[in-house]
Subunit: 338 residues, 6 copies
């Protein structure tokens, strides 16, 4: 039977400029719907899971469009509440080469950020689920959402639903101190966790390792410490991203489990078509691999390939099936197929 996956987070409408265009010059903007957890749900749907997003959108054509977006990717919208004031939006001025992309948020007062606890029936939502996934963005949006998330994680644990947290720290949304306090409360309830070196130091308070150690060695040490603190945390994962320019990145995936760090090959991503959602595609790949009980080295290869693929298409969503990701992971890059 198809496994039920539940994610919990905000949907946003992104307005992007074309490459080579500043926001102040743009007469046409591309509209993409997304959101960290929504993107994970979309990937999981393309991977064959019965994927739900728990969220709230306004009762207007923009809310409707957000729902239509999810449905077109096969995500179930049964747990999306309708109401509130607005869908959060943001503007992305596309980068090019040395010039970075630039985000302008306009997401305050969103319907989701004003979601109230009693709107949600967590028991119904978690019933029959295999996995519950959330990211730090949801936590940053309101105290109410933090409480809800904690409650959901506790209930999930009780019911044997696996739990997953992607730190996804956004400095424009909250301070490191706030994030640190909130996240540490949740960690005991997390089975699968996504965070990197900076998070380990700044949000979890570990000492910065000696920079003379290689990156993977440092990461292994951070992860070993954390996994001992939180014994339920069976998997910790992250990516190394080397930013050569806004158009060219190198990407390698990391997966720590049972005391060992597994790494994917390094993907050379050039040109980058759209990197928004690249991390979510990676997270979905890890989650899917874990649920499929693949060996760790395969999980991390699959997830990194999924993320690399995402970078080659516009929009937040990784619209590739499991087979397509596997074929890509195994093929020589760039050969035309005909």
């Amino acid at each position: 039977m198809t496994k039920k996956i539940v994610t919990f987070g905000e949907m946003l409408l992104r307005f992007s400029t074309s490459q080579g265009e500043r926001l102040s010059q743009a007469h046409h903007l591309t509209a993409h719907y997304g959101g960290a957890e929504a993107n994970v749900a979309v990937s999981m749907s393309h991977f064959g899971y019965k994927s739900f997003l728990v969220s709230k959108v306004p009762n207007n054509p923009i809310g409707t469009a957000a729902l239509k977006h999810l449905r077109s990717h096969g995500v179930y919208t049964d747990y999306i509440f309708v109401g509130g004031e607005r869908l959060g939006t943001y503007y992305l001025e596309a980068g090019a080469g040395e010039r970075s992309a630039h985000v302008t948020y306009d997401r305050k007062y969103s319907s989701f950020s004003q979601l109230e606890k009693d709107e949600i029936n967590l028991d119904e939502i978690l019933s029959g689920a295999t996995l519950f996934h959330v990211s730090g963005i949801t936590l940053a949006l309101s105290p109410e959402l933090r409480e809800l998330t904690l409650l959901a994680l506790k209930k999930a644990k009780e019911r044997g639903v696996r739990t997953s947290l992607d730190f996804n720290y956004r400095a424009k949304l909250w301070s490191q101190q706030e994030a640190s306090e909130v996240i540490q409360v949740l960690l005991p309830y997390i089975d699968i966790c996504f965070f990197g070196e900076l998070d380990a130091v700044h949000l979890l308070g570990l000492d910065h390792m000696d920079d003379s150690l290689p990156m993977e060695e440092r990461l292994l040490r951070y992860y070993t410490i954390i996994s001992k603190l939180y014994p339920d945390m069976k998997y910790i994962s992250s990516t190394f991203r080397t930013v050569i320019s806004a158009s060219s990145n190198r990407l390698q995936g990391n997966l720590f489990t049972d005391g060992t760090l597994y790494q994917s090959k390094i993907h050379h991503i050039e040109p980058i078509i759209d990197r928004v959602g690249g991390g979510d595609a990676f997270a979905a790949g890890i989650l899917s691999g874990i649920l499929d009980e693949l060996p760790p080295e395969q999980i991390v290869s699959f997830a990194t390939a999924a993320s690399a693929l995402k970078h080659t298409i516009h929009g937040d969503c990784n619209a590739f099936s499991k087979d397509e990701v596997i074929q890509f992971a195994n093929s020589e890059s760039g050969k035309i197929v005909r």
Copy 2:
């Protein structure tokens, strides 16, 4: 010397779909900057006035883009304050034929709506000005803005600056009762006023005239009553718009002064390219004609021609010079010029 014109109001970013496209289908949206008073300022700039907008925009690329928009039309941005949370936005699903256009507002919490009185130095702003113009939209946005407007009108009167008010009633922003109370306080300070029959009845509380009277007769009577109540109100103006469909309208301008109602010829506007800003173009035409001391029949012809022209181009702004409007008003329609 070029006359200084001051308008006071909010700028908005409009996201429009293409004709024949629903918001939920749109992957690209057209971005237009505008606002009732900003549009009047733009028209006045193209008509040769030194035009200012008093407003507030956020300190981000969208605020910058709004300023750039005004400058490209020659509007002075010296009195635009930078700060606050966001630029108000709205979505316009374009209509076609029988199907009306549909507006979804997302303008709450805007920088302008949170403008505070002491941010503005009215004396500086009004210094040397010939005209001060505002619309009911500004009044609808906050009590602070109402107070500011009242203060500005009083100061304008003291300084001999002419004052103009366009009712621009928007049911989505405030109730008729609220609007009625606010507007009636201002009317004694208004020299030039734009409102129609529905406003006369619902906002000014006049009795509805017998429908068997012809429209122009009814309007004449309403205007006569009002002009007696407010002796400073030398000019009252409005348009008759016959909506045949979202793609085809008839438009006639009305100007009441010295007890007489003057009417323009009827413009047949088909196809309508974009009717947003059509009323603002009309208002600017009336204001320009009055400042030029044209005879009333010429003022109303000029203003209605300006409004008809606006309907033939995309965007909120009437980018036609005085000469172009006059040439259009006098020419046979639709002949290719070569």
Copy 3:
């Protein structure tokens, strides 16, 4: 509980030129997925039904795209088989004014046209269904599909599932004689039927009524005759379309039931954005009204409004909810809503 609706037919990929462009000049073509029965399914989904299409698409990215299209409109794809050679396509050179649109079919050898009987489990498909709908296009595609349709109609009748047939005669697919023979076999099993005067004469063999009779009188007589021949046929419906030009049509809906002909008001559709799918939107409107047990005059008004709305948007699909159609049917046309 949401009612289950089953439609049975082919999906096509349409390549359209922009208005004012010939196929031989076109460097970019717009891709729309559709099909007579698929379009009905889409409308019914937007009207709140649990809508299924029974069909077959190839195992390639074009087949996948067709499925994605349906899902984005909420149509269930559980009964769509994957295999065969190709998705049928066609080219639409858009018309303008006096110049008609022109269709070039490239739909032979499609996966659906090669569907075989034993691929389909009619019992499962019809289980729990409220309505089964098919059009003459399915019948035109292969003898196998005719047999399947007949079988499905018989089974539907046995199970108390309502049946609906839209003649949709296409001269490029089969001759009148062929169509006539096939259709007459099916009619005894049809509850709701869509055909017009030309069909009555050329496919059902009725004598052409005297042209001096008004159109509605002639239609009433045809429908009376047919409804007596086929006592199960409770509803017969059609539209009168007056083609002023490719950009301007008048449209009126007809619904015959219990011996009475009900007619909608006449919609003036100008400009026509895209008339493909206009008939399907009408059919879906009639079906929805019947299932909602509306009075006949409301059914036909609703259906004709739905069809008129469809003409104002691009693509084959009528992406309007029941509420939106009702609001449109009742509103003055063309007023901007803000």
Copy 4:
């Protein structure tokens, strides 16, 4: 054997805005190649003639693009000389409804306008030709071109090549007096001539007929007078164009021969996609009909249908075959063909 047609004139590159856009707002311009005589050559090629343009284009990518344009429509470019400074250009601000299109010429110093007599071998060019066609635009461009045209017409007459002249008066290029003097010298050598009432009065010096006479009666009288003055002029032709707006015209064709005026039905052209080249399409239709020795009423119907069709597509060129024009002339307008 396919008949050889020779036209003589300038090619221009047109930069057009989209509908609803002013030149000062346009970030993208559509590029169309054309020219009065080139357009006639293109139509004649689509009608099945072996069509040549005699012209001159610069030796740069724009000149190359002009040649490619002609070849894509099957026009022979053997007599197009390469050299000189530039291809003439012009800007067309598209009109909409009441607002007329507006042309800004930038065509001075063009390669063609600087063509010299000895670059051209008229004997070779006219060898084997059936028809030689030129318009008043060529005459307006330089004295050298006038001399060349006169010489060509004389040689054509000697060789039995039919001659055709379309007045095509452009006030931006020369005065009525200049045009009048030049044209009157050529008329004795013209077999087929295109001009209307205004030309008869202003360029040929006829007295203005009493306006109380119906238009066709007046035209008949002008044509009768002229045809007596120039006995070789077997055909005179023109169109009546009623400009309802820039988006809607009525068009009727006139053809005078043997003392009788034949008129086509009136075409209602709405919306007008692009009217540039509409007159050239008409001229080509008349010329084709004459060469085919059709009866006059058929000639004028065919030509007016060709012109109406041209208005429904973008660009200067009437890319319709003889069969397509005939089918259009005979069909009910606007029916979708499928």
Copy 5:
């Protein structure tokens, strides 16, 4: 006198997505006409040859568009027959970086694949020709086309027309064994032949050389063996393509003649705009160089430069003149010319 070149093959309509877009997301597709032999004909036309394609296209607007495409590039369409069912199409999902482009064929049942022998008069077609070129794709399409090709090659040899074959093996069209049998029958009649190492091994049955040998050494050996088997085969050619990614390739040309292998410099092609037709541009470059009797090192440089240029433009066609290719081959790359 301009040399006559004859090519024989199918035309296809390609639907491409934009970079960064999946087929299932694409609302607009770019239409390109091409085909291996058609592309060679186009290149040869731009190089100054009188170029013909022998082919068959359907009698519909798509067939017409294919003809127009060829004519716009100066290719003669006298030997293109009109009839049959359809023009073959295919979909190209553009690749980006590591993600390869992906082709979905929909070319079965095409007019060309159903061409029959007696439709073609080979004597007329070959009369006066200098070169006859065909590729393995034509051979893959039907037994009838194989017979026709063999007949054409024999007749060409009799008449002293040079013959050229590009293997162009497509695994989606036929098996290696089928291809091997067919091609080996033709080789005795071939003067100029295009194939690489894989073809030598899999289609011609040579033993795979030891991989420790450098590529050029291996190729030299294969070519030496083959040229001894087929003494008429004066030239054998191929390219080495190093696929760094879908956006970046290295390309080097090989030409074997008189026992020596000549190689071009290596072109670094990045970004790749569109690689479809790159091989055809190379083949045309080789053919043109041979007909011009250039020294072998110049031939291969010219051909590889032509192919590299093709990669920098959209569409299948290499629209560069001989001079432009030479200038490119000799210039420093990437300098702006102004």
Copy 6:
């Protein structure tokens, strides 16, 4: 108080193709307004200066559009004269990878090139100015413009206005000998000068240094010689541009002052979105840095960063503020900011 900057030069309208498109294939062209001195004025305006362009544009919509362009970037148009025949234009066929961009000029007979001395009141223009900037392009256009420039430089020196000259040698406009004679007359009046090694040798007649010397050493020697010849020349500047391909360049800035050569870091610009205006952005950066009295190493870093940024956006204009350039100069490249 904001410093007044005056630049003197021609505005041009550029028509660009999209990447991967030849001019002969282009149906849509992008319109950009620019010009070497205009671009400097735009940059200076974004850097916070009160920037003027002295120029002349035609009295037509294209002239109006040029003015609107400047105003939208905050440039003052008070000294732009209206009249003359045309705005100069040029066509840019975009390059890609190894294929260079290609410029086709159509700028002769422009309004600016026909500017006459007595149209300009140099005293008014220079009044209150801090800087006067001009480039060699202005000098190339007419003897009158050379005289005017000389006069302006002399007057500037008298008034203590700093003077700047960018050689900007264009081989398509004048010969090296002409340029050499003209420029050498002006050099005594120049404070800040932009030229590179080739200019030093070919326009200033210095001996070519031994190529075995490193580039910066050679440049230092040239600059040392020149600065001794022209003691007023306090700053000499240039860029080293390594053209890897049309899509990838390396760029390093040079600034010589007080006998020392300062160099920026090397920017790797890939992909290049649009390099037109890159040199003007650099010049503006140098000028701004000098006026801000930054240390030389900061000036050259700022200027090179400004130029690198310009390469990442479409159009001639560097629409970045001083803060944005500084932030870019100091940031790690390519990180998304959110």
